[in-house]
Every structure is written in structure tokens, then in C-alpha cells.
Point group: C2
Chain length 519, copies 2
């Protein structure tokens, strides 16, 4: 059955005609009662435009669409990455197996085998640690999921870094980026982690060649400095070229790969192994939470349903994620890939065009910074933007200053809560420029402290939110056919440059304005 | 007259019923003929869904709304920051005067006086250079416009940095951010630039106090390390506390202040004075371009009109800016503030509620990175996202590598052009997952090389694009009343923390989940 054919869909459309009027209905009781909680994370959603009727209908929607069964099937290793009746990747989706080494491991043979293989890589990484100890700098070469998730977590845990260790991320094929990074490192003390599942990603191979050339220039043998993270038997799985190879599998999509060796080699370098295990444990615990029936515990499902309410019934085209934590400055960039590459689709699992909106545009920057930037539009713009705020009770470093009777952390949280209330409640005023409509939906995800365990849980929370939305919409959240056309045309452009083919007149038209001597 | 009452508005609504079908109409001739050009920048818009009729109607819209007259009035110092009939800031908007020292300076007394004052600060900064020479690190403390624009330009020009100079931006009140930066610098060699026009910004004063305390802790006198950038006679204009004070004025809004001392003190530290003057010259030249009648020269007006077509007639809620230049990685964050804080408004200049959409949600990340992230949604999502690509013919460092017959810079540009064409043209396919609808509007802004002059021109190009859209919509792009309510409620929250007042039950409800011992 299609999304729009569920009974709950009609019920929700009905309810959306008169959504909760927050300026009238926002009370302390509402704020304290509308919440979910698991693993020390609380999701407070009293500032969403939902009533108990809406929540019941959303839960019915989740039941009709069998969202929990799909999550179970995913974690069990069923072939959820496919389009029925058409050629597609047709394979399991098993990023959860990358961390399924703790309590209650999945019992199905496919998932078990994947977890076993993943754990072997973790053990290999543990043994490998002494070989990385002498390096001070690590360059991670990889793009998309091989860069965004790992970098977001690297920055998120900077307070936990081992002293004297630095990581640089080289993803863009822009040659200026490589030139800049190479100016900053002593290559004799640098290890390079090259990440590409297929071993054929254009940007990554180009940057690898560029950096290898620089090692050779200064008389260093790249073989003693380069590590491959790749699929077994890919062109990069080549002991003659690399100090070591760590493996990834085709059942782990790039945007879901931060808990695989894609993230862990780099994280073990900068954090050591124990925090890496905490990080995996946090993610794994959230995987189990995502299987629970109780919506007040199953935070990813709760968040997915609230998102669907905002997207499909209140018709908001975007969603902002605003962490009140500077350490999470690049976390929205990771979520942008995770969400938009997964759910930016127009066909369902049967290959039929959808007749409803799928994944929203996800964007965001940290607060309080955003308050001094784009929050004007959030409060008074003509397009309403649903927001998920993220905050933590305690600081990471445990250092703070008290000014005018409050600490900076208290100021940070006060701003977060104030924004949540201001957006929901608005303000009447006779001066139209001081009038705030309110009814701008938002929720608050609160943790105790941003540590390795919590960031692991946070990562998995969003992975499963995205997957749940895909299950409910009935789309395939695990492929990315939409990136192929651009790749194909880029190859044609390159053929123009090399003179291999002139068969791309539109491309040739673009080359004229940048021909030498013209600018 | 209101936006929706212009004759051109009706004509455009009519034309928008059958917009150009790009898969059918995209030709090399279209790509080469639909362009604007000024100051070495080319704006190619053959991949927008516009016909010559649409372009004529857009030009008529610009004439009916007297957009060019408003731009002239703005640069002449008229009180454009106001809402008629209501209390408002009611003052001139003169960021253009901050750089009006080159050809054809504005002749009106107000603008002339502002330029004279600004130039005196530039001269002061020149004289001050030797005093900064001994420092290796600079911490810029400021938030919003005092951080986003300056940081975007700092990163944009990293290839031009003086050796051994580093800058750190401390904006967020999050105490972990200060703790992190202080671990990275030797305070004895660090100069601190504190930026606040009013001298009262909460985050900035808190971070200043935090950093001052650390100087005192290691026995250093902050007076020899701290520079104020502030309004004359603000609480920060205090020679007893600062090594020097540089001035800014209330007719330069935060988001328009990068070419004032807000950006220049820091930029002179890291680049030296001559590149700073080139930067100002690029911006000033674009200010003059923005006054020109010829739409094929007036790039900011051209871009503004194309944006209005996409926003108000094709009804796209967001716009993405995708620079194919890693150096511009934070430029979209600056543009996000510039655009959304300026035009995220719901009332017009007469205080009446608008009956049309104003500023879109602006977001973006560099390409090619984005291709491996959110481009899936751009190609196949259900919400269409208009895009402005930015690219440059040459690299900054002049270092590159040739792999498979092409350089990285050629690969970078090939990807940019390929994306532009792929989004516009789409692709038919019997497999629905390999089907691309096309008709996804985009344009390409091409420069020769990202240098100080060009980034100045780019900055002003976007400032004036935003201002033109505000003029055409008839809204005030220069205030930000929408940020006040959150500030007010944050103060109430802080009063809860200090026990000064309990009069905020909604805030108290939020404090419970983070009370000590609860998480």
C-alpha cells in the first residue's frame, strides 16, 4: 500500500486542517509531558504543533506502514536496498552490524556474519595501534560519507583528543585544498588514510596520487605511510602499495559508514581505542532502542514521525538542525548528506512516482551563532522552518566562567530554551515589525554531555530517523542513483579537455568563457 | 505600490504558467548568449527557466519598482533602514562608503563624510601595522556579522596569508569553544580583536572576559593585547582597556560590515595592507556596477531578478550556493546571514503584511563535495532547489597534478559544468530510478581566480543582490527586529538561573530535564 492510502494518512490530513495553536496552548505541563527518553537523551516536543490525537494518528501511521518490522528486517540483513521489478543494487543494509558486539547481538546468520567480520577489523585495528603511534598527523583522503561523518565526529570529540595528534580531511578535487594541507604537515610524521569502497572514486584517487607524489618528492616511500580503507579485492586492496588495508563492505552505504573502518581508523589515531569502543557502544545501544515498540523510548521513530507531520501534513519544505554546541559545528553537514542523499527520491520501492513530498532540505549551523545570523527568517520570514535543537547539560572541557551571575554554559542553554519558546509562542505587538506569529514548530534533543558514547548514540539516532521515514514513505533510502548523471556528463567534459571526444556541444559552450586569455 | 500590483508582476505570473522546458530548449547557443559580465566575472544563466519574454518582464519589474533608484539612494546615504509610520531604526545604509576611496566616489555630503571617516580608519590601520607585527596569532571575538563574513574571507584568501600568522574566531558563548582555542595559542604572542558595535553583545563580552581572565592568569596585561572594534563612545571605546580602538558606525549593519574595520583589522594582520586595499577596490568597483542600467553588466541586479523569478513565480522555497572552490567553504554561511537576516521579513516598508514570499532559505556547501552528499536530492528529490554555482578558471596556489590527461582544476570545472547541464537537461530512462526530470534551474558565476580583488567583488555582488531583492519586494533589508524576542526570553531564563525572578514558568519547565542528578 502507498503512503497516501493509509487510513492514518487521511486522518492526519484531517487533523492538519486545524493544527495546535501553540501561542494559545503552550503550557509548562505540555512542555514537561511531551517527551521521549532513552540512553540519557531526552526529546522534548511540546513545541511541535501536535496534539494527542495527532500523536495517536502518527503512531497508527507507523503501524500501518510496518515501520518497526522494516527496521527489524534491516538490522537482520534483508535486501532492503532495492527497487522491486527494476535493476537496482539489491542488497542488505547492515551498518548496524558494524557495532553489534555488545548486548543482545542480532541472531540472524547474515547479520551475525557481518558483525563477526566487522569485529575482526576492530581487533585488527587494535593490533595496529603501535604502528600509528609515531605519527603526529593523519590525512584522511575520502569524499562524501568517507569525509563528512568522520569529520563531524572528529570535531565533536576534540575535547577528547590525544595531545599532539592532528587530522586533516582532503576530499575536494580542488587542487588548492591539497596544496593547503600539504603546507601544514611534516610528511615524515604523517600517515595517510585513503578511503574508497570501490577503490575507483575519481576525487579520492586523484588526491591520493597528488599526495603520493609529494611523499616521493621529499624522498619518502608512500608504502610506509599509506593505509587503505576499501572493499576486499578492490584495486586498493594491494599490500605492495599500503602499510595496511582495512575492509568495508557493500552492505554499508557511504553515508552510514562512520562506525565502520571509514571512521574508526582515524578516530583510533586521535582518541585511542577505548573511546572508539564507547562510540560504537553508544551507536549500538541506539540500534536496539530503534527496535522498541514504546514510542516514548524509541527516539528515532518519534523524531521520524514528527518530521513526517511537518513535511507531509504541515507542508514545510526544509528542516534545520541547530546544535547548541560548537563542537557539533559540522554535524549538520553530515546529517545533510545522510538525510538528503537517503530520502531525496521521487519513486517508491515499486518504481512508481510518488504523489507526496519525500525528504526535506536539511541544513543548520550551531547556536548561539545562528541567532546572530539566519534566525531573523526563522522568527519572521514567510517560509516556516521546523527545527531540531540539540543541547547538553554539561560542558566537555569542564572549564567555564561566571559573568553577571551565570556561567557560559547556562547562557548557552538559556538561549536554546528561549529560542524554542519564542518560536513556538510568538509575541503580539502593535508595531508590525515587533510582531511574531509564533507557531513555528521545533523540538529539543537534550543530552548530559557530548562524549564518545553520546555522539555514537546521536549518530545512530539520525541514521534510524532517516531510515524510518524512508520505510513510512515506502522509498529506498539506501541507494543514490541521482548522482550518476552528473558523473557521466563530467566524464564527457573531461573528454573535451583531453580531446578524446568532441561529442558534447553543451559542455563545449561552457568551456568558451574560461578559455585562456579570455579571463 | 506593492510588489503584487506591478504590471510586470501579472505578466510574470502569466509567463510562469509555461516556463521554458530546458530539456527541449537547452542549446549551446542558449548557453553562450544568456550571460552577464563585469569586472572579470561572468554570470551564465542559460540553465535558468527563463525566456527572452521573461527577461523583459523582469527588467520591467525592476523599472516599475525603481530598484536602481533605490540602489542610488542607498549609496547616497538616504534613510533606507526604516519602516514608514512606525518606530524603526530610521537611518542610512552606508556599507558602500566603507570602500568608496577609488574611482568616481559618491558626491553626496552624507556618503562623502562616511567615506572620509572610513578612510581615516584605514589610514590608522596602516600606521598600526608595526604594532601587530610581533604577534603570531590573532583571536577575533565577535558573533554574527563580526565573525561569519570575516571568517569566510579569511579562509577564502588562505593562499595569500603571510607565513606564520594564524587567526582563530571565537563567537559562540559555548565555553568549550573558548577552552579549545586557548589550548592552541601562546598568549604572549597573541593579539585579540574584540568586535561589537554597541559594546554590549552578550556572547562577545562574555568571551572577552573569559579570554582576559586567561591573560591575567599567565601574568600578561590584556591592555597590551586587546584591540576594540566598536562604535565611537561605546563602553568598549576605552583606552585604559585596549591597545587601540578602531571605529564602526550605526549605518553599517553587522552582516554588511566585512569591508569595515570588522574585517580589515584581522585581514591586515594576516594578509598585509596591500591585499586589503585590493579587496576594498573589488568591492567598490562592484558598488559602481550595481548602479549601471545595462542588465548584462549589472550582475547583482541580474542575479536578484533571476532569484525573484525562482522564488515568487516558480515558487521554490530555497536557494543553494555551491562554490566549486574549497577556499569558499564558509562563504555560504556568510551569505546565509546576509540573505536570510536581510530578507527574512513578513512586512513591507509601510508596515503592512506581505502577500507574497520574501527571502528564501539559503544554504550550501562546496562542490565537488556536495555531489557526494546532498546532490541526490537536487537531481531526484521532490522539492526543486535553484542553485548558483561559483567557479574559477585558475587555481590559487598554481600547483596541480595531471592524472589521466587532465589536471585537478579541469576535473573540478568539468564537474561544475556537468552538474549545471545535468540538472537542467535531465535524462529519460525506462528504469524510473535512472530517470531525471531536468528543469532544475541553476546559474553559473565564473571568475578568473579567487584573489583579494575578486573576493571583494563577490562580497559586494551578493550584498547588492540582496538589497535589490529587498527594494523590489518593498521590504526593509537592513533591520533585524526578529532577533529581539529570543534575546528577551533568554534574559528571563538567565533570571531563573540566578534566582532574580521566577516569572517564566515555560522556561522553568525546560530547566527540569537538565537539573543536576537528572542526567
Amino acid at each position: 500500500m502507498r503512503f497516501t492510502q493509509y487510513q492514518a494518512f487521511s486522518r492526519l490530513e484531517q487533523l492538519a486542517k486545524t493544527p495546535v495553536d501553540l501561542p494559545a496552548e503552550l503550557t509548562p505541563e505540555r512542555l514537561t509531558s511531551m517527551k521521549g527518553e532513552a540512553l540519557g537523551l531526552k526529546l522534548l516536543y511540546g513545541t511541535e504543533r501536535v496534539s494527542s490525537e495527532v500523536m495517536e494518528a502518527l503512531q497508527a501511521l507507523s503501524q500501518e506502514s510496518r515501520a518497526l518490522d522494516c527496521m527489524k528486517a534491516m538490522q537482520a540483513g534483508e535486501h532492503l536496498n532495492r527497487i522491486e521489478g527494476f535493476e537496482s543494487e539489491n542488497r542488505p543494509v547492515l551498518h548496524t552490524a558494524m557495532r553489534d558486539f555488545f548486548e543482545q547481538p542480532n541472531e540472524t546468520p547474515v547479520a551475525r556474519e557481518a558483525a563477526k567480520l566487522a569485529y575482526a577489523e576492530v581487533e585488527k585495528l587494535k593490533q595496529f595501534q603501535p604502528k600509528m603511534a609515531s605519527f603526529t598527523d593523519l590525512i584522511q583522503i575520502g569524499i562524501g560519507g568517507s569525509s563528512l561523518g568522520p569529520e563531524a565526529i572528529y570535531l565533536g570529540l576534540e575535547a577528547f583528543h590525544l595531545p599532539g595528534k592532528r587530522v586533516h580531511f582532503l576530499s575536494n578535487v580542488d587542487p588548492d585544498e591539497g596544496a593547503k594541507i600539504l603546507r601544514k604537515v611534516d610528511l615524515s610524521k604523517t600517515v595517510v588514510v585513503v578511503v574508497s569502497k570501490s577503490g575507483t572514486t575519481l576525487e579520492t584517487l586523484t588526491n591520493e596520487a597528488y599526495v603520493r607524489e609529494h611523499f616521493l618528492k621529499v624522498g619518502l616511500d608512500p608504502k610506509h605511510h599509506f593505509i587503505a580503507v576499501t572493499g576486499k579485492e578492490s584495486p586498493m586492496d594491494n599490500p605492495a602499495q599500503y602499510l595496511a588495508a582495512f575492509y568495508m563492505w557493500d552492505y554499508v552505504g557511504g553515508r552510514y559508514s562512520a562506525t565502520s573502518m571509514v571512521g574508526l581508523v582515524m578516530l583510533s589515531f586521535v582518541l585511542g581505542m577505548n573511546p572508539v569502543l564507547d562510540f560504537l557502544k553508544g551507536a549500538s545501544h541506539m540500534d536496539k532502542v530503534a527496535l522498541e515498540n514504546d514510542l516514548s523510548r524509541n527516539l528515532p521513530l518519534l523524531s521520524a514521525l514528527l518530521g513526517i507531520w511537518n513535511r507531509n501534513f504541515l507542508h514545510h519544505p526544509t528542516v534545520a538542525v541547530i546544535p547548541y554546541s560548537q563542537a557539533l559545528s559540522r554535524f549538520p553537514a553530515h546529517l545533510q548528506q545522510l538525510d538528503m542523499e537517503s530520502n531525496g527520491k521521487s519513486i517508491d520501492r515499486q518504481g512508481a512516482r510518488v504523489n507526496f513530498e519525500t525528504g526535506p532540505i536539511l541544513w543548520g549551523e550551531p547556536g548561539t551563532n545562528g541567532q546572530h545570523s539566519f534566525f531573523q527568517l526563522l522568527h519572521q520570514g514567510t517560509t516556516v522552518v521546523p527545527i531540531e535543537f540539540i543541547g547538553f547539560a554539561k560542558t566537555q572541557y569542564g572549564e567555564d566562567i561566571s559573568i553577571q551571575g551565570t556561567t557560559s554554559q547556562q547562557k548557552l542553554l538559556s538561549n536554546l530554551f528561549a529560542q524554542s519558546i519564542a518560536l513556538a509562542q510568538g509575541q503580539k505587538n502593535e508595531n508590525p515589525n515587533k510582531f511574531f506569529s509564533g507557531n513555528r514548530p521545533n523540538r529539543v534533543l537534550l543530552g548530559s554531555r557530548l562524549d564518545p558514547y553520546t555522539i555514537g548514540a546521536l549518530l545512530a539516532y539520525y541514521e534510524h530517523k532517516v531510515a524510518f521515514q524512508g520505510f513510512i514513505w515506502g522509498i529506498n533510502s539506501f541507494d543514490q542513483e541521482g548522482v550518476q548523471l552528473g558523473k557521466k556528463l563530467a566524464t564527457k567534459m573531461l573528454d573535451l579537455y583531453t580531446g578524446k571526444s568532441q561529442d558534447f556541444p553543451l559542455g563545449a559552450a561552457y568551456l568558451k568563457p574560461i578559455a585562456p586569455g579570455r579571463c
